[in-house]
């Protein structure tokens, strides 16, 4: 974790709509940082850190995650062969090093020796093999499987050498396997009772949807964790969570509502978010049903979206509008700067809608959640008002999460004339996943039939190392997404978290997960 200066951070943080942290002229707006080290100084050994969330942890299998709330545990109880560094690169974790064949179809990982699971069982390449094979099992609903589906063979050559052979090249494999976490597969039936990873903390108690209590792993192979204990607590709602934060009951609060963030990050509390967010506020559309089976209708909708106002109103300025309509953060080095912007233009939207058969008097449906993500409704209301100006009715409908997802998830559902509000998180480019999701082998609920050129571009991105060929393919894919608009990308943002003044050593991953493995309290 680099000790960047606040000034340097501000340059990197496009999230900060007002550069409050750097500009003393706006003292009411707290600075946003990707790391909790606003005040440098020694970190104390010991203590219990309470981490608050408003979503519960339902189960503990690290390779079949049930909710975003669970991701907080991924680096506390478990390790992968690789792990994310704050700059979005894959770093050694249980693998000390790796080599690949010139064509990127064979990878050899050299594992640490002397590592053991929390139950004392040694972690070896054979154990790693079991975990990879479990993730690749088509009957196991492992989200990470789609990132490593090119792995055709896993071989444990000896206790510390694991070889992954691929059916197609993947230069990004170390990043792709970050989320394959190592747990004792032979005892996976008890993972909710013992966690059984190799991570810096081990499980003491778990009550689903309520609390997860962790204690320091005294036999940890890496640097000794600072904290004695970490407790992850679920609060009934945002009000209860924020009350707990203000009373000092909670040390870190995750996924704070954007409109509450500034008010909560007072009295020295630290406001945290990712340095380069890789999450997107989107409206998914069924591209196989009218009217959105016509790309002109999708473009019309994109022009009808007042992204700036939506991000300001819904996300309190903690986000950036994405008028290019692609799932690439405008600050990413691979972002194509020359994409035509779908700037808010109701006249153009009206014209394009009419061309696509969506005339005055038509009704579209905005499908969003009740009881959570109220900012989605806020941006829906802005769209509703704007569409009304051109004679189109937007019917905003809310449903609790399970009903909401049932309408359009998984891929293959029909939901004509509906904008399904959603929030998507991807690994930033050059990781291929954000673009591969739209391809024919991807799982986009938009049901888009990608043109051959797009599929070819994604295949190239997946199999090319850094260089002109990769850059060209990324540009091509973005241009096609910009033109075809299979979904509407309103803006890029990331979850905001708030930490008490004395918390040190946190950092925030691209999609908003707060890393606690090196956390501690100021001495």
């Amino acid at each position: 974790m680099g000790n960047r200066t606040i000034g340097a951070l501000c340059l990197g943080l496009a999230l900060v709509a007002t550069s409050a942290g750097c500009d003393s002229g706006a003292p009411t707006e707290p600075a946003v940082s990707p790391t909790a080290q606003a005040e440098q100084g020694p970190v104390a050994e010991g203590g219990t850190l309470v981490f608050g969330q408003t979503s519960g942890v339902a189960q503990l299998d690290p390779n079949t995650i049930a909710s975003a709330a669970q991701t907080q545990l991924q680096t506390l109880l478990w390790n992968g062969l690789t792990t994310w560094a704050p700059d979005n690169t894959a770093q050694p974790d249980l693998a000390e090093s790796w080599q690949h064949s010139p064509d990127f179809t064979s990878w050899t990982f050299n594992l640490r020796s002397g590592v053991q699971y929390h139950n004392g069982k040694p972690f070896t390449a054979a154990e790693a093999k079991k975990n990879f094979e479990r993730v690749l099992d088509p009957e196991v609903p492992a989200q990470v499987a789609t990132k490593i589906d090119m792995v055709s063979r896993v071989t444990a050559e000896n206790d510390t050498t694991l070889v992954l052979e691929l059916e197609r090249p993947n230069p990004q494999l170390p990043a792709a396997i970050v989320d394959v976490k190592m747990s004792d597969v032979d005892d996976i039936a008890n993972v909710d009772r013992n966690g059984n990873g190799t991570g810096p903390y081990e499980l003491r108690a778990f009550v689903p949807d309520q609390t997860v209590e962790l204690v320091r792993n005294e036999d940890y192979w890496g640097e000794r964790p600072h904290l004695d204990e970490v407790t992850i607590v679920r609060y009934a709602d945002a009000t209860a969570a924020q009350t707990a934060m203000r009373s000092g009951e909670v040390d870190v609060l995750a996924a704070v509502a954007p409109d509450s963030a500034a008010g909560l990050a007072t009295e020295g509390r630290q406001l945290l978010t990712a340095e380069e967010p890789a999450s997107y506020v989107v409206w998914e559309l069924d591209t196989t049903s009218p009217p959105f089976d016509n790309p002109v209708a999708r473009q019309a909708l994109s022009y009808a979206a007042d992204r700036e106002s939506m991000m300001d109103a819904g996300y309190a300025g903690y986000g950036i509008a994405t008028p290019a309509n692609v799932v690439v953060n405008p600050n990413n080095e691979h972002y194509e700067q020359g994409l035509p912007a779908h700037q808010f233009d109701l006249d153009k939207a009206k014209e394009l809608f009419a061309e696509a058969g969506v005339t005055e008097g038509s009704t579209l449906t905005f499908w969003t959640k009740s009881g959570s993500d109220p900012e989605w409704t806020t941006i829906g209301e802005i769209l509703q008002q704007d569409l009304a100006k051109i004679g189109i009715t937007l019917d905003i409908q809310t449903a609790e999460t399970s009903t909401w997802s049932a309408k359009f998830y998984p891929q293959g559902k029909r939901y004509p004339g509906t904008l399904a509000a959603n929030y998507l998180s991807f690994t930033p480019l050059p990781g291929s996943y954000s673009l591969a999701w739209f391809a024919d082998q991807g799982t986009c609920e938009c049901n888009w039939s990608a043109p051959a050129e797009y599929n070819q571009a994604v295949a190239t991105i997946e199999s090319s190392a850094e260089g002109p060929e990769l850059d060209t393919a990324i540009t091509t894919a973005q241009r096609i997404l910009n033109r075809e608009s299979p979904i509407i990308v309103v803006g890029s943002t990331a979850f905001l978290s708030v930490a008490q003044q004395n918390v040190r050593g946190l950092w925030v991953q691209a999609e908003g997960t707060v890393h606690l493995e090196e956390a501690g309290f100021a001495a």
Partner: protein, 320 residues
């Protein structure tokens, strides 16, 4: 009496069977898919993996087959496994029983104490003003949903005055004092909500019994007002109130669901809410069945107790 008990047991078993069928069918009519919830509606799960998960959970079987497998398991004391965690349903319910038991017991005790105090005082003091105040209290208690009461109490005692915690639970074995402090607000919320209908019932009974001949005789003897109310009016008014208490059990259980959620109280209520959101049928159907069984059992006990306390019922039963 034995025939009466047997008949009541039979009716209770039939009611539970109907509840089990109803909850089972209604759950499966809800939109939403447990397997989608299980993977967090993540944007990178292969639909084939979801299909495999459905098959593994038995959700592909026809509903009658699913029901049969579940109910046979229930009769053998095996409630199945949560769709989400690896805990058996009975284990999950076991984790939540004590907090719910604590809350409902404390809520009931507070409700009875409040009901007795607020019913008897206006009668003893013959105070119309106090009576109106109590009527206002009951109107408010019956009109405001428990979760609204809870939020108001939190706003006053946790946020404004700051003397009581607004949420959280510590097991009594771990720290009894902290446990009781955390229990106070949720129990008070439940107690107020439950006391309101009890007070209404009790006040109506008190005014009815007050006109009875034996009461007029007691007054005529020159007994003090307090003695007349406590010795001659209240015991006779309490008997019908028992029935009300039995019916109130349903309100206790449904009230506890909302109260637990507001106060992050890890009982059966919050378990039920979370499970409904996740469509964890295995947990929902067994929890609802358990709550229904408690409701039926309490009402059965109240009816039997009524029979014990009121000899006329036993005589009537014997004459049949």
């Amino acid at each position: 009496m034995i025939r009466y008990v047997l008949r009541r047991l039979g009716v209770s078993a039939l009611m539970l069977l109907l509840v089990s069928i109803l909850i089972f069918v209604v759950l499966r009519l809800l939109p939403g898919d447990p397997t989608v919830a299980r993977v967090g509606a993540a944007q990178n799960v292969d639909p084939a993996a979801l299909a495999a998960l459905r098959a593994e959970l038995g959700l592909d079987d026809p509903i009658p087959v699913q029901y049969w497998q579940w109910i046979i398991g229930v009769l053998h004391g095996e409630l199945g496994r949560s769709y989400f965690s690896q805990f058996e349903v009975e284990e999950i319910i076991g984790q939540r029983l004590l907090p719910t038991f604590e809350l409902t017991l404390a809520g009931m005790v507070l409700a009875v104490l409040l009901a007795l105090a607020l019913s008897v005082l206006p009668t003893v003091l013959r105070s119309r003003g106090l009576g109106r105040l109590v009527d206002g209290y009951t109107t408010l208690g019956m009109a405001a949903p428990p979760f609204v009461l809870g939020i108001v109490l939190v706003a006053i005692f946790s946020v404004r005055i700051g003397i009581l915690p607004n949420e959280g639970y510590v097991a009594p074995a771990e720290n009894l004092l902290t446990n009781l402090r955390a229990l106070l607000l949720p129990a008070l919320t439940l107690g107020i909500a439950l006391s309101a209908p009890l007070i209404r019932y009790l006040r109506a009974e008190l005014s009815e019994v007050e006109g009875a001949r034996h009461v007029r005789t007691a007054v005529g003897k020159g007994l003090r007002r307090r003695v007349v109310v406590l010795r001659h009016i209240l015991p006779n008014a309490m008997l019908p109130a028992l029935t009300s208490l039995g019916i109130t059990t349903g309100a206790v259980l449904s009230g506890a669901v909302a109260v637990e959620y507001v106060f992050r109280w890890p009982g059966l209520g919050s378990l039920l809410v979370d499970s409904v959101y996740k469509r964890d049928y295995a947990v929902i159907q067994s929890t609802v069945l358990l709550l229904a069984a408690v409701f039926v059992l309490v009402n059965l006990l109240v009816d039997l107790l009524y029979g014990v306390l009121d000899p006329r019922l036993r005589v009537g039963e014997a004459r049949r």
